[in-house]
């Protein structure tokens, strides 16, 4: 179950208006002496003006206040909850309770503090566990979260609400969640320069309150996903599921990961307002999430680092990966070098020819590139071969899948690791524009950058569009538009949509962009399309290349051809929107790797 959430220290009408609509369960107003102190008359005025959605409760925080003062405020404002933050006695609480008020009591964390909860249990409906400081808590300092389970267990035993407070921010929520807190109370962690930040509030609710809950226990996103692999691999997948569950509950994993993302890959990546492009297009403001500025030039590294840390924790010394264009291969080779793991990258002979420099790059990074000569000698065959190798060496080998595809738990893990894109975007967009974007657009091959961008917005109202490669056109047979043209089927371990013939044989896709040139698509995208939450469209080689040139010339950013597909769709979308609306594009990678292909394309076009 999701933890309860309280946004505390709301101190203006504007903040109050924003906070009540962020899916927090409790909104806290501080009447005690504090830098966030508000007067009961102000609070009463906000309540008169602003409709509070059903299910949201307003709490007033008092510290050793006069009983009558608390009762009066609670009735006049009105308050749903009176929170006693000082050294109030059980008798004080009893008086409040007799007035029919709901009462929360703050317990200051120290050894054995969980035992104090029982003393108040007769009259308190809930507890706030806060750090003990000389000023009496509320100082924005975290306590040792190892103790969280003891408070949770006591609250469960007593049947009371319990919120963990003190020093919680959007950056450490994942770490705290690993201790399964029954509730979270946050104040300074959702502020920027002392003001409540709507972006941070939304990030916090996105992190704490996911109502979208796919995949299920069997790894299903609605009808899609699952585990369609040879029996030999089933044990390895179970082992991986368990290992992933373990790290999800291990704060040290997130510390390592965030530290590597920051110090090794350069996260957070910036958000850029494309002012010139916006002017050129006319219409909505276009923003770019700059995944191209990651180490190795694309979002792929986010996932490669995370899975490499996981592999290492599982005690696997060998990593294998598949690669099409070589971007995931380079990212995996990079992460393997960083974490001292041996690395084999499977790559189709045809792709090795087209991406000679990336082969060399992987070798420079110490990886062994294995030439795949089966089938069509491209990405799907490289994936088959990687799976065959894994089946044979499953004991000591970790298969590091690069996209949101494959058998459960891969689509889940890749989504979770890539969600850093969407989480950062939420915060950055709200910081820059004061609200969420109207529309978000990302390109989709297997779909990892898109799902990472979309996932934190799934519960919001933001329009989401995935862009597939239409190659020479979806009316031809030279495209990679899996959702637009494919039918249901199983490839590489999961049920999704596929390009296939009547007999169920996989068809070779085509796109000028090697990263979108895949006959399948991640199962979660199949689900989101069929559920109507995300729309998918297809963009041709030509449209993508025009968008690539346009961005290069107007903004001085050479995007990857993959990302240029998203841009082409964004340009059309922005043109159809009103000034002041916003479109956010996931610029998944940089185009340096594509210079050769771009040159060739231009030469062929000129002929």
């Amino acid at each position: 179950m999701n933890p309860l959430l309280k946004f505390c220290g709301i101190k203006s009408e504007t903040e109050f208006r924003k906070a009540v609509h962020t899916k927090a369960d409790f909104i806290g107003l501080v009447f005690a002496r504090s830098k966030r102190q508000v007067r009961p008359e102000e609070a009463a005025e906000w309540r008169r003006k602003i409709q509070v959605p059903a299910g949201v409760e307003i709490a007033g925080v008092f510290q050793d206040a006069d009983r009558d003062e608390m009762i009066r405020a609670a009735l006049e404002i009105p308050l749903d909850i009176v929170q006693c933050h000082g050294s109030e006695s059980p008798e004080d609480l009893e008086v409040l309770k007799k007035e029919g008020l709901k009462v929360f009591k703050t317990i200051h964390h120290e050894d054995g503090a969980a035992g104090k909860m029982a003393d108040f249990a007769r009259f308190a409906d809930g507890f706030i566990i806060d750090t003990k400081t000389p000023e009496g808590g509320g100082a924005g300092v975290r306590f040792d979260w190892e103790a969280v389970p003891s408070y949770r267990e006591e609250a469960e035993r007593l049947g009371k609400v319990c919120l963990i407070a003190g020093g919680i921010t959007t950056d450490n929520t994942d770490e705290l969640k690993a201790y399964s807190p029954p509730g979270i109370d946050v104040s300074s962690g959702i502020e920027t320069d002392g003001i409540k930040d709507e972006g941070k509030m939304w990030t916090m609710t996105a992190k704490v309150k996911q109502t979208y809950s796919f995949p299920d226990q069997l790894g299903r996103f609605g009808d899609f996903g699952g585990k369609y692999v040879p029996e030999t691999l089933m044990h390895a997948l179970t082992e991986l599921e368990n290992a992933y569950e373990d790290v999800k509950n291990d704060p040290a994993f997130y510390r390592d990961l965030h530290s590597e993302w920051a110090s090794f890959s350069g996260r957070p990546t910036p958000l850029t307002f494309a002012g010139n492009l916006t002017k050129e297009v006319g219409g909505a403001d276009i923003y770019l999430k700059r995944e191209d500025l990651n180490h190795t030039g694309a979002h792929k590294i986010n996932n490669a680092i995370a899975q490499a840390i996981l592999a290492k924790r599982m005690g696997k010394s060998k990593i294998i990966a598949e690669t099409g264009a070589g971007q995931h291969g380079v990212a995996t080779a990079t992460a393997a070098a960083r974490f001292g793991l041996s690395c084999k990258v499977f790559m189709g002979e045809e792709d090795m020819r087209r991406q000679e420099l990336n082969v060399f790059r992987m070798e420079l990074l110490g990886a062994e590139v294995i030439k795949v000569t089966s089938g069509s000698r491209t990405l799907k065959d490289a994936t088959n071969e990687a799976i065959r190798h894994w089946v044979t060496h499953v004991g000591d080998t970790y298969y590091l899948i690069g996209s949101a595809v494959g058998p459960h738990p891969y689509p889940l893990m890749v989504r979770d690791f890539q969600s850093v894109i969407g989480h950062e975007s939420r915060e950055q967009m709200t910081e820059k524009t004061g609200r969420l974007p109207d529309h978000i657009i990302a390109c989709v091959g297997g779909g990892s950058n898109a799902i990472g961008m979309f996932y934190p917005f799934i519960d919001s109202e933001v329009l989401l569009t995935g862009v597939e490669a239409a190659g020479k056109g979806t009316e031809t047979d030279r495209h990679a538009a899996t959702l637009t043209k494919g039918v249901r089927g199983v490839l590489h371990g999961s049920l999704s949509y596929l390009l296939q013939d009547e007999g169920g044989n996989i068809q070779e896709p085509y796109s000028i962009s090697a990263g979108l040139d895949y006959p399948g698509i991640g199962p979660e995208h199949a689900h989101l399309r069929d559920a109507g939450r995300v729309t998918y469209e297809a963009v041709t080689d030509r449209e993508a290349m025009e968008a690539l040139k346009l961005l290069s010339e107007t903004e001085g950013i050479l995007p990857a051809i993959e990302s240029a597909h998203a841009l082409a769709a964004a340009v059309k979308t922005a043109a159809g929107k009103k000034t002041g609306e916003t479109v956010l594009v996931c610029l998944s990678g940089r185009g340096d790797k594509d210079v050769h292909t771009i040159k060739q394309y231009e030469e062929e076009r000129d002929e």
Partner: protein, 264 residues
């Protein structure tokens, strides 16, 4: 009801189960080779459906699939071909060996109906593990067809639940890896076989990598049967030119001899 669902089949020992890729080198040869195998003492035939991405198979069967697809073979044609083999006198049980995607592309109900009508007794799907197999297993049972489950050396705790609800025979994967001949078998399968025998009387056939008389002997002692695939596919492929000419009958005779020696 298919032959694999009969009570009588559960008591079978020393099963010899050869695999043929439908349509390789050509459909006519598949039928005649099947008849020759029956004559030579085969107990069940695995009828391979060619698929573009056979990730449980090694290069021999993958190449055979590519050749067969190039000639226009597909899952429904392979089912029809099995029906024709029945008409021409094939009597032993036939197991359709296919990946799950061709089954889904055809439609599970349609495929099972057509398979039953063609006289197919079993379905073996290497990328359909126990957890995903419930629906198809029920459907197959309704038509008297056995969905043959696989067990691997890594199955561990899974052995019990897989074996406990099994039809036909259990396909025990001899070693980690894909199909194709091996010189050595490192896994000790006796524990798994004992565990299987504790929960079911379904026979156990060992497959993957078996190509020699000594392998057959070893696994017949240990289990209830063996599956031979790549070795036979290679045998026919190497003689494809002879099969097109006057030496056709001598190749088929040689095939019978090859099998008799394997199981002697």
């Amino acid at each position: 009801m298919g032959q694999l669902m009969s009570a009588e089949f559960k008591n079978r020992k020393n099963l010899f189960i050869p695999y043929l890729m439908a349509g390789d080198p050509d459909p006519g040869t598949t039928i005649e080779a099947a008849l020759a195998l029956e004559e030579a003492g085969a107990d069940v035939i695995e009828w391979g459906v060619p698929y573009s991405d056979p990730l449980a198979d090694g290069p021999v069967i993958e190449q055979a699939a590519i050749r067969s697809i190039a000639q226009g073979m597909n899952i429904l044609k392979a089912v029809e071909l099995a029906g024709r083999a029945r008409e021409q006198g094939l009597t032993i049980p036939v197991v359709l060996f296919t990946y799950i995607n061709p089954v889904l592309a055809t439609g599970e109900s349609l495929l099972v109906e057509k398979a039953a009508r063609a006289g197919i007794d079993g379905l073996l799907i290497p990328d359909l593990p126990y957890e995903e197999s419930g629906g198809l297993k029920r459907l197959a049972r309704e038509h008297g067809i056995a969905l043959i489950p696989l067990i691997a050396p890594t199955s561990r705790k899974r052995v019990k639940k897989i074996a406990g609800d099994s039809d036909g025979f259990l396909y025990l994967v001899s070693s980690l890896g894909v199909t194709g001949t091996r010189e050595q078998f490192q896994e000790d399968l006796s524990d798994i076989i004992r565990e299987v025998n504790n929960v079911t009387d379904t026979p156990v056939a060992v497959g993957f990598g078996i190509s020699k008389r000594e392998h057959v002997k070893k696994f017949h002692e240990l289990a209830d049967g063996v599956v031979i695939g790549s070795a036979l596919v290679r045998f026919l492929h190497e003689r494809r030119n002879k099969l097109n000419g006057s030496e056709r009958n001598s190749v088929l005779a040689e095939l019978k001899q090859f099998v008799r020696e394997l199981i002697s």
